[in-house]
Subunit: 239 residues, 2 copies
């Protein structure tokens, strides 16, 4: 798989599939950047890069790496301690998936689960949109998000679904200590009923404007950091 | 100015420049959507729409509206009560500017200030990326963000700059009651020293991953909702 862009190539070189990175191609300017010191780079033209990437967003560099190293969904659930997982149901826009993965990695999420179908895959465009975060993040695929949430609950996870429905509580009410899955639905229509039904609790961000339509990647950022904040407060209260 | 896409045209029809919307063009499918009932629409082909918009992201509809109705920066500062303003220094990517405006509108921010130069303007692409939020949001331009923050402080605003520097306090420490400006710097390099120096306090989101590079629109979402949460807690504590 081709990885393109400065951050994606840089993170691929130090991430989970670093050992699979083979050739690196760069145009003159990018090849001289200090972070590539000691790395073997083939000098090529911008046109050649664009041809290899199928995109003009390469920033002068691309690399050939192995396929994206998805982990098993079982492996995600087996993490010890108090993991924070993110389940993304039917996020089809690569920009959104990449942006959410970037935020999840920065927020220290333990992993991301996406469905096998009706979801963006971790493509080169997603790697780019994630600023390379997917190279460090553990991402798993599941046949069915609702079933995954059922498995998670059996293992002591508490599943919070982001929702704008009337049953949802304000997102800053729960304390979010323990094992947590945050569930986000699709860009257009939110959580499907079966997925919402598989959650322990529905949570909502306040919508105080006219448009009532927060973007899913903004919602992910507000909720992930809200959960981290809730956990820290929950721990303050702990005996 | 051409506004394109379903949400942008819909919000333009009920937003701050609704009276300036003249012609609306739509392809067959979009023209029959229920929200356009009673609205005069000219039927055109997809190619004609793409030609008018200069983009293929029109979703079958576009409209001719007046220029974007920026407000004066003085007007933003004069809002009574406890406004929450957002100052964006050198956000050049239209997608980021649009996405931040969308979140700001949903979070109930009172307005957004951007610099006259080295910033994306409110273009049709920004309207689209904001899902039409810019039609309701009050956006002002200023020659100099640092000077604007000085004016704001004179009027009793407290200016919080998002920063990853060592002087920054965790963002969830302040209570954010009163008149607040949240200041965000550019995608690549954050706050410029003079802008950071014009803030009362620097605040930081925790970065718990490998990549240490939260996107600016994700940071905006986490901070805006964090500020709303801090305010609600601050009010709980008030006598």
């Amino acid at each position: 798989m081709i990885v393109y862009g400065r951050n994606p190539v840089g993170e691929a070189l130090r991430g989970r599939r670093a050992h699979t990175v083979k050739d690196i191609w760069a145009s003159g300017g990018a090849a001289r950047e200090p972070w590539l010191e000691g790395v073997k780079v083939k000098l090529v033209s911008g046109e050649e890069l664009e041809r290899r990437c199928g995109s003009n967003a390469h920033q002068g560099i691309c690399a050939e790496a192995g396929g994206y190293p998805y982990v098993g969904s079982e492996e995600l659930l087996k993490v010890s301690g108090e993991p924070l997982l993110l389940a993304l149901d039917q996020i089809v826009d690569p920009q959104n998936l990449g942006s959410i993965c970037r935020t999840a990695e920065c927020a220290g999420a333990s992993g991301v689960i996406i469905p096998e179908r009706r979801s963006a895959d971790v493509t080169p465009a997603v790697c780019k949109a994630s600023a390379g975060a997917v190279e460090h993040l553990r991402i798993a695929k599941t046949r069915n998000i609702a079933d995954f949430l059922g498995d998670a609950r059996e293992r002591g996870y508490w599943c919070y679904g982001a929702s704008t429905s009337a049953e949802a509580v304000p997102y800053d009410q729960p304390d979010y200590t323990g094992r947590v899955v945050l569930v986000l639905g699709s860009e257009g229509s939110g959580l499907r009923p079966r997925v919402a039904g598989a959650c322990d609790q529905l949570i909502a961000l306040g919508q105080h404007g006219q448009i009532q339509s927060l973007g899913v990647s903004a919602a992910a950022a507000a909720l992930l950091y809200g959960i981290l904040h809730g956990r820290s407060k929950g721990l303050d209260k702990a005996p």
